[in-house]
Symmetry: C2
Subunit: 112 residues, 2 copies
DNA sequence: CCCATACTTAGCCCTTGCGCTAAGTGTCGT
DNA sequence: ACGACACTTAGCGCAAGGGCTAAGTATGGG
C-alpha cells in the first residue's frame, strides 16, 4: 500500500512530460531503438536518454541492449496503475452520490 | 488539438504530486474549505495554497470565496482528459495487434 | 585494424517546484 | 472599535528537472 503510493507517484511523474508521453504513444505501435525514437524529438541524444531512463525506472517501458542498440518496448501493465487511480476516484464519487441519495431518501444520518 | 495537448499536460503535471492527488481524492467526497483541507497535510498554509492554485489553474478544481472562506470543489470533467489519453493508448495498442493479426493472416503488406 | 555507429557518462546551466517565514488584507463576532 | 480568523502576498532557499556540450565506451562493417 505504501509501495503502491510510491509507484503511482512515479508513473504520474513520468507521464507529466510531453516528450515522455509521446514516447509511450510511439511505443504503443511497437518497439523501437533509442536512436529511432530520439530522431522524432527536437533535442540531443543525451537529453532524450534521460527521458528513456525516467520511463524505464518508473516501469513504463522496458529496454534491452543488443550489440550497440538499445531497444525499448512499452510495459502496458504499468498504465493500469493510472487506470486504477481513476477508477478509485470514480468509486469515491459514486459513494458520495449514494450517500446524498440516501440522505434524501432517509434523512437520519449526517454525513457532514 | 494544440490546446488539448497543453491542457492534458497541465492535468498530468497537476496530478504528478501526492499532495495534489490527495486533495483531488478528498474533494471527491465533497467540497471543503482551504483551511479544512490544509489541516490534513503536514505543511504550512501558504505552501498548501500553492497546490490549490495549481489544481485550480489546471482546471481540476474550482474555488469560490465567500466572506473569508474559500471553498474548493472537484471538477470531475477534467479527469476525463486523463481517461481519454488512456483510451487513446488502448486504441493504438489495439490497432497494432490488429496489424499483427492481419500480417499473420495475410502476409503481404509490410507495417515497418 | 580502423572508422563509423550507437549509445553512455560527466558535468554545467538555468528554470521551475516545493517548502518556509514574515507581514498584509479583508471578514466576522463581540 | 477591535481582536481573532482565514486566507493572501512577498520573498527566500534549496533541490530537482530538462536541456546542452564534450568526451568516453563498445560494437559492427570493411
Amino acid at each position: 500500500m505504501e509501495q503502491y503510493a510510491a509507484e503511482l507517484d512515479g508513473v504520474f511523474v513520468a507521464l507529466a512530460d510531453p516528450t515522455r508521453r509521446a514516447v509511450v504513444r510511439r511505443l504503443g505501435r511497437g518497439p523501437a531503438s533509442v536512436g529511432d525514437l530520439a530522431r522524432e524529438f527536437p533535442m540531443t541524444l543525451p537529453s532524450f536518454m534521460k527521458h528513456v531512463r525516467t520511463l524505464e525506472s518508473n516501469g513504463l517501458i522496458r529496454t534491452v541492449k543488443s550489440g550497440r542498440v538499445r531497444t525499448c518496448a512499452l510495459n502496458r501493465e504499468r498504465l493500469a496503475l493510472v487506470d486504477g487511480w481513476l477508477a478509485e476516484q470514480r468509486r469515491i464519487w459514486e459513494e458520495r452520490t449514494d450517500r446524498l441519495e440516501r440522505f434524501v431518501t432517509d434523512p437520519e444520518e449526517d454525513g457532514q
